[in-house]
C-alpha cells in the first residue's frame, strides 16, 4: 500500500481503486458541463491570475478523469504530471463549488489516493 516504488506501475491496483469508485467518477465526468462555475470558488485559481490549470474541473478531469478513460494505464511521467496537478495545484481546502453537485474534492482526493498507491506523492524537502 505504501511502498515508495516509482518505477513499477501497479496497473491492477489502480484499476481496483477505479472500479471501486466507478460510479462516482462516471457521474462526475458525465455531469461536468464545463461551465467553469467552479473556477471562482477556487482561491488558488483566483490568486494565480485565472490560470485554467487551477480550475477545479480541470484538475479532476485531467487527473482521475483521464486515468479512468485510459482504464488505469498510465506511464510514470504521466503519473508524476498528475501528482503535480492534484498535489501542487490543489490544497484540498474542499471549498470548490459545482452547481451540478459534483463532489470535486472527493475526485481530487481519489487522484491523490491513486498517486499514493504507486508511491507518488508530494515531498516537502525537495
Amino acid at each position: 500500500m505504501s511502498d515508495n516504488n516509482r518505477n513499477k506501475i501497479d496497473t491492477r491496483a489502480i484499476q481496483s481503486i477505479l472500479k471501486e469508485n466507478k460510479k462516482q467518477i462516471k457521474l462526475g465526468l458525465t455531469m461536468c458541463a464545463h461551465c467553469s462555475m467552479c473556477a471562482e470558488s477556487c482561491f488558488l485559481y483566483m490568486s494565480k491570475d485565472y490560470d485554467p490549470e487551477y480550475m477545479p474541473s480541470y484538475k479532476f478531469l485531467n487527473s482521475i478523469g483521464k486515468l479512468y478513460k485510459k482504464k488505469g494505464k498510465v506511464s510514470n511521467g504521466r503519473l508524476e504530471k498528475m501528482r503535480d496537478l492534484v498535489f501542487e495545484n490543489c490544497v484540498l481546502c474542499t471549498r470548490c463549488y459545482c452547481p451540478f453537485g459534483i463532489n470535486i474534492p472527493s475526485l481530487i482526493t481519489l487522484g491523490r489516493r491513486i498517486c499514493r498507491s504507486q508511491g507518488v506523492f508530494r515531498e516537502y524537502d525537495k
Partner: protein, 224 residues
C-alpha cells in the same frame, strides 16, 4: 501550520508490543509539510518497526496507509475497510488527527507516533519555530506582531517584567526578551503607546474543548 516531531521508536514499540496486526496511518496535511508524519515517514516507521521486531524475533504484520488529512471525516472514510483487518492503529498525525481516528474507530486502540509541538513557521527545510500557541486571545495587534505568549519565557500579556538582562531574559542568556523586541518594534513603527494598553488577564480556555464557528454559520450549528 502545526509542527510535530516523531516520537522515539522505543516508545512506539512499547505501545504496540501486545498487538500482532498494526496499521500505520500517515496524514497528508501539516505533518507531511514538517516531515514528521507523511507517506514517506510512514514508510520509514514501517521499516524501522519491522527491523526492530525481526531483531527481537517477534512476528508482526504491518502496513502503512496515508490519507490526505486525518482531521477531516470525509478524508478518513477510506480507512474504514482497511482498519477492520488490524488490531491497532498508529497515527502519525497531530493530536487532533489521532483523536479523530480514535473517535471513528472506538474499538481499535489508536497510538500517536508523533508529538504535536506547535503552530509554527518554516525557517528552513526541517527547521521550524513556534509562533503561536492557539491561546484564543490574540494580542498581536498591540505587540507589533510579536507574540508574548510564545516568545516571552514567562508568557506575559503585559510586559516587560523587570527581569530583562540586557536584551536577554533573566531566566536564560539564550532567550531573547520578547518584550524588548516588542518595545523596539513598536518604537520603530511609532506606536509605543500600544505597549501601555493593559491587556485583561488571559482567560485560559484550554480546560474545555474549544469549538470554532465562523461568522455567518451560527444559524447552522447553534440551536435556537
Amino acid at each position: 501550520m502545526i509542527k510535530a516531531k516523531p516520537k522515539p521508536l522505543e516508545e512506539i514499540q512499547n505501545y504496540v508490543e501486545s498487538f500482532d496486526r498494526i496499521l500505520i496511518t500517515g496524514c497528508g496535511g501539516c505533518v507531511s509539510v514538517c516531515l514528521a508524519g507523511g507517506q514517506r515517514e510512514v514508510n520509514i516507521l514501517k521499516t524501522e518497526l519491522a527491523l526492530a521486531h525481526s531483531q527481537s524475533n517477534t512476528n508482526k504484520h504491518m502496513d502503512g496507509y496515508t490519507v490526505e488529512r486525518q482531521c477531516n471525516s470525509n478524508l478518513i472514510e477510506e480507512l474504514d475497510p482497511i482498519v477492520a483487518d488490524f488490531d491497532c492503529i498508529i497515527s502519525m498525525a497531530c493530536g487532533a488527527g489521532v483523536q479523530h481516528l480514535a473517535e471513528r474507530y472506538p474499538g481499535k486502540p489508536v497510538f500517536p507516533a508523533v508529538n504535536t509541538i506547535a503552530i509554527g513557521v518554516d525557517l528552513d527545510i526541517g527547521l521550524y519555530e513556534e509562533r503561536c500557541r492557539a491561546c484564543g486571545e490574540c494580542v498581536l495587534a498591540y505587540t507589533g506582531g510579536i507574540c508574548p505568549v510564545t516568545r516571552c519565557a514567562k508568557g506575559l500579556f503585559n510586559g516587560p517584567c523587570g527581569g530583562t538582562n540586557g536584551d536577554k531574559c533573566e531566566i536564560s542568556n539564550e532567550i531573547d526578551c520578547a518584550w524588548l523586541m516588542i518595545y523596539n518594534r513598536l518604537k520603530e513603527q511609532n506606536r509605543l503607546e500600544d505597549i501601555l494598553k493593559i491587556q485583561p488577564p488571559m482567560e485560559w480556555k484550554n480546560q474545555v474543548k474549544r469549538t470554532i464557528i465562523q461568522k455567518g454559520y451560527e444559524n447552522r450549528y447553534i440551536d435556537k
